[in-house]
């Protein structure tokens, strides 16, 4: 549904987006990750046709956003960053206006508004002016606007920003549910969201894509991916550490704790392997040595670790 090729955007001498390409198909939810100022919002603004790209090609559906902007925009629902809306209007007035601009009239308009209101839980504030609403409600009002015409493509810039945990959960469920039938791009800072919602994630840094894959694939790039924690009853930790360290798959062994004759040792794998090879070889070793194995746990790797290791934000790390 969305095809982006070699997208580039410069503001004066500053390069905001530098050669980004990706595709999003129907039924896919693409997570956009990256530090502040990485070019996430700029990319989304270009895809929605708000700002023209310096170079590159964007196709939405079968329409080029530059050559056929109206046709392309008709397919898109867009939630801009900070969820703007006309503060002097009521929620109902605002949504009716958006429906009208989307070409819906009469009954179709009424139905579209009530559907969006229902999906975003706005019944309680329907005739309140947007000005008087809390941030969460404002956000959902703008979100309702983006789905009012049941678009095939949904582009959401930080859809859960500033919401409380319950609201975040609601929005995520909503995105996930709609993701089955639509092509969705959404940007976020929250890494757990990627796990919860995305079928694929792209990490952008300084205007370039630095990682692209399913959340599992990204996670396996983490250094801690495949690390195994062993706890053994009745053996000394140094002995366990020494023995385990001799395994070919083990890279580094560290003693975590030794209390009440219970030794806990953490082993990092020499290469990430999703098949739990390291855990299996440790289990074999334990059987051979006659250890009383209490726990064997393979870590899955952490997204935030991947995120930190491949993006270099402007903030210098404090050591």
């Amino acid at each position: 549904m969305i095809k982006v090729q070699n997208l580039r955007k410069t503001f004066g001498p500053k390069v905001a987006v530098n050669g980004i390409s990706f595709n999003v198909d129907k039924g896919e939810v693409l997570g956009f990750l990256g530090p502040n100022g990485a070019g996430k919002s700029t990319t989304m603004r270009m895809v929605t046709g708000f700002i023209p790209p310096t170079a590159g090609k964007i196709t939405v559906g079968s329409f080029d956003i530059i050559e056929k902007p109206l046709e392309a925009k008709r397919l898109i629902g867009y939630l801009p960053e900070n969820a703007p809306s006309y503060t002097d209007m009521t929620v109902h007035g605002f949504l009716s206006f958006c429906a009208e601009i989307r070409g819906l009239r009469g009954d179709a308009k009424k139905k579209a508004v009530s559907r969006a209101v229902e999906m975003c839980f706005l019944e309680n504030v329907l005739y309140q002016s947007v000005e008087t609403l809390s941030k969460g409600y404002r956000h959902r009002t703008c979100f309702a606007q983006s789905i009012i015409h049941d678009p095939e493509v949904l582009i959401l810039d930080e859809p859960t920003d500033g919401l409380d945990p319950n609201q975040k959960h609601e929005i995520r469920t909503l995105i996930k549910r709609m993701g089955e039938k639509k092509a969705i791009i959404f940007s976020t800072h929250i890494l757990e969201e990627v796990d919860a919602v995305c079928s694929r994630a792209i990490i952008i840094d300084r205007g370039q894509i630095v990682a692209n894959g399913t959340p599992e694939e990204l996670r396996s790039k983490s250094q801690s991916s495949g690390a195994v924690t062993v706890s053994v009853q009745g053996s000394s930790s140094t002995l366990v550490a020494q023995q385990v360290g001799q395994l070919s798959l083990a890279r580094k062994v560290s003693i975590v704790s030794e209390t009440n004759g219970r030794a806990v040792v953490r082993v990092t794998a020499s290469e990430p392997s999703p098949d739990h090879d390291l855990a299996r070889s440790i289990a074999d070793l334990a059987r051979k040595e006659g250890w009383k194995l209490e726990e064997l746990h393979t870590e899955e790797g952490r997204l935030d670790e991947v995120f930190r290791s491949i993006t270099r934000s402007d903030v210098k790390e404090v050591k």
């Binding site: 955007k9 503001f11 004066g12 603004r45 929605t48 046709g49 708000f50 700002i51 023209p52 902007p69 109206l70 046709e71 925009k73 008709r74 898109i76 867009y78 801009p80 960053e81 900070n82 703007p84 809306s85 006309y86 503060t87 002097d88 209007m89 007035g93 206006f97 958006c98 009208e100 601009i101 989307r102 070409g103 009239r105 002016s129 703008c142 606007q145």
Partner: protein, 250 residues
């Protein structure tokens, strides 16, 4: 075509609702009616003149509009930029010019409504004497044209900045300039002090709102005057589009 009319009317409707949802509309109408009444009767000596004409009424309009129209129009685009709704509006399936025209027409319609509410003065003058109502009609058309020209200029300055105050001041200055180039003291200054040739003076004064409004006040619907006002409007709205586009391009 049908589609664009639908879009324009949707935007215009929203804009009009916005006026009446806030106190702007009511404050404007009240102030406009008070000022036009004050100037007509107190400063224009409506009764003392002893003539059944609305000249003292229309004479003041370019001056009253000078401050009131920018006050109405200053929020047209700067508010959109401040709230960030511009991003919303321009990613909708509408063209920029539809948005510009829709907003302009809504505000113009509103100004027209305020002008319409001055109708008691027509009743007054018709009660007191027998004025030429054709002249009065032309005056109203001219007054509407002046407000439209000011409004289009304000739309342009409003697109320049997210700060409404700046937008207001710049549009007042531009509109004032358009008044002054045809204001008799200024043209006399050009002729007597600067010894400008009459051709030069004529060229300069032909840019003036006053010169072109005069025709309407005399009851003449001159094509040249109408074209002047319409071209100010079209030019300013076109510039609005260019400014908005340049902002988006970064």
């Amino acid at each position: 075509m049908n589609n664009s009319i639908g879009n324009i009317s949707a935007i215009a409707k929203r804009e009009l609702k916005g006026f009446f949802a806030s106190p702007v509309a009511y404050v404007f109408i009240v102030i406009f009616l008070l000022l036009s009444g004050f100037f007509t009767f107190m400063a224009g000596f409506f009764f003392e003149r002893g003539q059944a004409s609305l000249k003292p009424f229309f004479d003041w309009h370019p001056w009253i509009y000078l401050f009131l129209v920018p006050a109405v129009g200053m929020r047209l685009w700067s508010e959109e930029r401040r709230l960030g709704t511009m991003e919303l509006l321009l990613t909708m399936p509408i063209t920029t010019w539809q948005a510009i025209v829709g907003k302009f027409l809504a505000s113009w319609l509103f100004l027209g409504l305020a002008l319409f509410l001055t109708f008691p003065i027509i009743c007054t003058v018709n009660y007191l004497g027998t004025p030429d109502n054709g002249v009065i009609f032309c005056g109203y058309v001219g007054s509407l044209m002046v407000s439209g020209a000011y409004l289009a200029i304000t739309s342009m300055t409003s697109a320049m900045t997210r700060n409404q105050v700046i937008s207001f001041i710049i549009s007042v200055v531009i509109c004032l300039f358009l008044i002054l180039v045809g204001f008799p003291p200024v043209t006399n200054f050009l002729i007597n002090v600067l010894r400008a040739k009459s051709g030069v003076v004529e060229t300069i004064t032909s840019f003036s709102i006053i010169t072109h409004f005069d025709g309407f006040q005399k009851g003449i619907l001159d094509m040249r005057d109408i074209v002047f006002f319409l071209s100010v409007i079209v030019f300013s709205l076109f510039s609005t589009g260019v400014i908005i586009r340049s902002h988006r391009a970064g």
